[in-house]
């Protein structure tokens, strides 16, 4: 089965300035799509539009051939979005944070899965430390643990490499490639140079 996110004639205006106009996109399974462009060129806005958070745009979005507002429920059930802010509550431990994310998608899950996911991002031993006491990179890793904990077909990642050390960066890159190879789809913005891969496609803004 394949997935397909399409945008037709997408345009977005911010403060009387067009961020992009007439943008046509076809994002299919097995692809890593990197959105490029200088600061302020609308990368985050584009990701937010594509993940259905911003409605202030012109053009049309299609999910697997159906118009987005009709297919929204199915789209959200298959989307994993990681934004600029990692979405980690500083008052909760990494385990509690992940438990909430798991429950949000309707799965109760179990502690073992969450421990495995945390170990996978190198946070074994930090399960019960309040997230506020973790470093920025560690908090980002807690958010990244959701990639394995709640498998979704479409990953929309806004600067996922922020604050991650270079070992983590290399591993995350491998994870992205593996996800695309397995038929998933990754939409990513980053200033970090991704290793060339036949699956990688670039879209330039600005």
């Amino acid at each position: 089965m394949s997935l397909c996110l399409q945008a037709r004639q997408l345009a977005c205006e911010r403060d009387d300035r067009w961020l992009f106009q007439g943008l046509d996109l076809d994002i299919r399974s097995g692809e890593i799509v990197r959105i490029e462009g200088p600061n302020g060129s609308g990368k985050t806005s584009l990701l937010k539009i594509l993940s259905g958070q911003l409605s202030d745009y012109q053009g049309e979005l299609f999910w697997n051939g159906a118009a987005m507002n009709e297919a929204r429920e199915h789209f959200l059930a298959n989307l994993l979005y990681l934004g600029h802010a990692p979405g980690i509550k500083s008052g909760l431990s990494p385990l509690e944070n992940l438990a909430w994310y798991q429950a949000l998608s309707g799965e109760s899950g179990n502690e073992e899965q969450r421990l495995d996911a945390l170990e996978g991002v190198g946070l074994a031993g930090f399960e019960d430390v309040p997230a506020g006491q973790l470093s920025a990179g560690q908090q980002r890793r807690v958010a990244l643990a959701r990639l394995t904990l709640t498998p979704r077909a479409l990953w929309v990642l806004d600067e996922p490499f922020t604050a991650i050390d270079r070992y983590g960066v290399a591993d995350l890159e491998k994870q992205l490639v593996a996800h695309a190879q397995a038929g998933g789809c990754v939409l990513v913005t980053t200033h970090h140079e991704l290793t060339a891969s036949p699956l990688l496609r670039r879209i330039s803004l600005g």
């Binding site: 990692p86 509690e96 429950a103 109760s108 996978g120 996800h179």
Partner: protein
């Protein structure tokens, strides 16, 4: 630490394993789990607030301070105080509830979990209702339970204490629901506090009138059921309408 991260991604490179995983993911239909999500949100917000007790105690302390100052500033004369007590208790409780509203969605907005809440494949209406329920449980309900004690300080006549607590419990639930609309609308603004009060206070007035009226009626020995019934009706109406308004307001704020 790094090696474990490495191992994990190595293992996810086993193609067949992940292919299965992803094809299973693709067939994912949204299949309920609403109760799981609502329960988890309730638990999460309760845990968070109970770990930041200061935020919970703030409105209660404010309520106690205001009520304590009035007999000192006006007069300790029980007859005079008894006349103004119902209105005073209600106004102070209303302001205390208002004080705590600004933080309802603020921290979620700041750390990015609000956008995750909006992207959850669950109805936002139900999830935001869970958040409001926690707010009432840790603000409105304690205020209602505390009010009779402060009533003693204002020489509130006997016989009206139960009605005071009951009217506040009913009324603050409406206040939390209505206030959450304002909190959701102003969450994207850097200093939304004043705007929030301006938006929400006019809508609070019916609740204030019938809440204070119920206590007044209890003091004069009139029937209180009409007042309580109207408070109940206000609560029912806010329960029906406010969650949709809150969800829509959150969408607007995130859009901004």
């Amino acid at each position: 630490m790094h090696s474990s991260l490495h191992d994990a991604s190595q293992s996810s490179l086993h193609g067949s394993d992940t292919t299965q995983q992803v094809s299973a993911v693709l067939l994912r239909e949204h299949k309920g789990g609403l109760m799981t999500a609502v329960k988890a949100t309730l638990e999460r917000d309760l845990t968070l607030l109970l770990r930041r007790r200061g935020e919970v105690l703030n409105p209660l302390v404010f309520f106690a301070l205001v009520i304590t100052l009035f007999p000192i500033a006006i007069s300790p004369d029980p007859e005079l105080l008894a006349v103004i007590a119902p209105g005073l208790l209600w106004v102070a409780a209303l302001l205390a509830a208002l004080l705590s509203l600004d933080s309802l969605f603020r921290s979620d907005y700041d750390d990015g979990s609000l956008e995750q809440l909006l992207l959850a494949p669950q109805p936002l209406v139900a999830l935001s209702l869970a958040k409001v329920a926690v707010h009432w449980l840790l603000t409105g309900l304690p205020l209602a339970l505390m009010a009779p004690m402060l009533g003693i300080m204002l020489a509130l006549p006997a016989g009206s204490y139960a009605i005071l607590a009951l009217s506040l419990a009913l009324g603050t639930a409406s206040l939390s629901l209505i206030g959450a609309i304002g909190a959701a609308l102003t969450v994207g603004l850097a200093r939304g506090g004043v705007l929030l009060s301006l938006l929400v206070l006019p809508l609070y007035i019916p609740v204030l009138i019938f809440g204070a009226g119920a206590v007044q009626a209890a003091i004069f020995g009139d029937g209180v059921s009409a007042h309580l019934a109207i408070l109940g009706a206000l609560l029912a109406a806010s329960l029906m309408l406010a969650p949709w308004a809150i969800a829509a307001s959150l969408r607007i704020s995130i859009n901004g």
